[in-house]
């Protein structure tokens, strides 16, 4: 079974803090993704990566950056957390280049106060 793990299930941070969300997958997948999910807005793609050190912006990259130094690890960085970044953050990975077969982690519920 594909396993995608995220560093925290729940996180509370203060406005202005730098926040790191870590994601690790154990299936040697080339592609990794970061989404956020908010009530009424569904899942929205923040960034994705198709190889080590490669990244592409998704639909809502503003206020975020990413890092992929190793194939199995994809980090999402909130440079200066704001209250509007309170959300559920979901990491996913995929191997297939066909369709949208992705495997998601359990999510990190981030609250910025």
């Amino acid at each position: 079974d594909v396993k995608v793990t995220q560093s925290s299930r729940y996180l509370v941070k203060r406005t202005g803090e730098k926040v790191f969300l870590e994601c690790v997958q154990d299936m040697d997948h080339e592609n990794m993704f970061w989404y956020r999910q908010d009530p009424g807005l569904g899942l929205r793609l923040i960034y994705f990566s198709y190889d080590v050190k490669m990244k592409e912006k998704g639909d809502i990259p503003e206020g975020y950056s990413v890092s992929r130094e190793k194939k199995e690890r994809f980090s999402l960085i909130l440079e200066s957390a704001s209250t509007n970044q309170t959300s559920m953050y979901l990491c996913a990975s995929s191997l297939s280049s066909r369709g949208y077969e992705q495997y998601f982690g359990p999510g990190t519920r981030l609250t910025v106060t």
Partner: protein
């Protein structure tokens, strides 16, 4: 990316077969059809993916007519634990800046005892 339309919600009873239809009139030649299941406070779970005709796995079946303008996810003999949101995605994972992975609002399936 093909736009998809699926019912906002459905109710069914335990033990019945449930069919959820997704319309995707502008599906492109290389697009695949992918379905996910999501429980509250969890990441989406990949269920099934297909290109044409019928695909079956241990969880569900996916029926795709010849024109590929719609697809039907079939869940055999549902139980209360199948209560979840089901998402239909249509597209080809290109892994470039033009890729738009859109989950939409999904279908909220409620299984009754």
């Amino acid at each position: 990316l093909a736009k998809t339309t699926q019912p906002i919600s459905m109710d069914s009873y335990e033990g019945q077969e449930v069919n959820i239809t997704c319309s995707h009139n502008n599906i492109a030649t290389n697009d695949y059809i992918t379905w996910y299941q999501q429980f509250p406070s969890q990441g989406p779970r990949f269920i099934i993916q297909g290109y044409k005709t019928k695909v079956t796995n241990e969880v569900a079946s996916l029926f795709i007519p010849a024109d590929r303008k719609s697809s039907t996810l079939s869940l055999p003999r549902v139980s209360l634990s199948d209560t979840a949101v089901y998402y239909c995605l249509v597209g080809e994972l290109k892994m470039n800046r033009d890729d738009k992975i859109i989950f939409g609002k999904g279908t909220r399936l409620h299984i009754l005892p």
